[in-house]
């Protein structure tokens, strides 16, 4: 049983790290400020999430896992709030998002 938990935990850690790297790659490759935020979003959700889940498997049923779960909750509530504040201030400062088409009525 222990080897199985270790494999699942290791998989989560590796895939999570992979997504964190892809998010960083996205920040480098995407063309403008607003699209780059989407790249950073990958690191925030899938990257951090899977790494924390992988660590929870290592923690087992203990207080450590509860604390990791709380870290995940804090991350998942604060990171979109920060992203929104960042995007909103950029928009109000006058940075125009580059778009392919404007929807009718906007």
């Amino acid at each position: 049983m222990e080897w199985f938990v270790n494999i699942v935990s290791g998989l989560c850690l590796v895939i999570g790290s992979l997504f964190a790297v892809i998010g960083g790659l996205g920040v480098l490759r995407l063309p403008d400020f607003y699209t780059r935020m989407h790249g950073a979003g990958i690191t925030d959700t899938m990257g951090a999430g899977l790494i924390l889940v992988g660590l929870m498997f290592q923690g087992g049923f203990s207080l450590v896992t509860v604390k990791l779960l709380m870290i995940l909750c804090v991350l998942l509530t604060t990171s979109p709030t920060a992203s929104h504040a960042l995007a909103k201030s950029a928009l109000h400062f006058g940075l125009e998002p580059r778009v392919v088409e404007k929807e009718a009525g906007s």
Partner: protein, 159 residues
């Protein structure tokens, strides 16, 4: 009163989970500090349904969170795949979405869910109209379909 009770029990639960030392002295310290926080919040008159959203109950965790996690994972894989392709097939789009939630907490949950899903970021909010920047046309269409909006609204009013 129900907000004080909710805040007090939550605070004490968090204390118990974080300390891990269950001696009378430390539990007593926890009780005293939780009570002090509740009393201070009452005196500051910041204890309302915003600081202790008891009216939502456990519904966000039972009905909404699993669906949101599924959507986040799917969106993550989609955006990651697009970033990795040499041509990067993205169509940045701006759409305006109506938030049909009554309370502020509901709208915050909705706007944060939009931002949390990779491929869509809520960049502005005026009244009940949220401006969403989407990385792809599909992501923009998903927000326009209003499924997320309906699910968040359902959290406020149980059917």
């Amino acid at each position: 009163m129900k907000h004080s009770l909710a805040l007090g029990t939550t605070l004490f639960g968090v204390w118990l989970l974080w300390s891990g030392h269950y001696t009378p002295l430390l539990i007593g310290c926890g009780l005293v500090s939780c009570l002090l926080v509740v009393l201070l919040s009452r005196r500051m008159e910041i204890l309302d349904e915003e600081t202790a959203p008891v009216h939502l109950g456990l519904r966000p965790f039972i009905y909404y969170a699993p669906w949101l996690v599924k959507e986040i994972v799917l969106a993550n894989i989609d955006v990651a795949w697009r970033i990795l392709q040499p041509r990067m097939p993205i169509q940045p789009t701006i759409v305006r979405v109506k938030a049909s939630q009554q309370g502020e907490i509901g709208r915050v949950i909705f706007a944060n869910s939009i931002t949390l899903t990779p491929g869509t970021v809520s960049i502005d909010m005026e009244g009940d109209i949220i401006t969403v920047h989407a990385l792809t046309r599909e992501a923009a269409e998903f927000e326009e379909s209003g499924e997320m909006d309906r699910r968040v609204t359902k959290l406020e009013v149980p059917d």
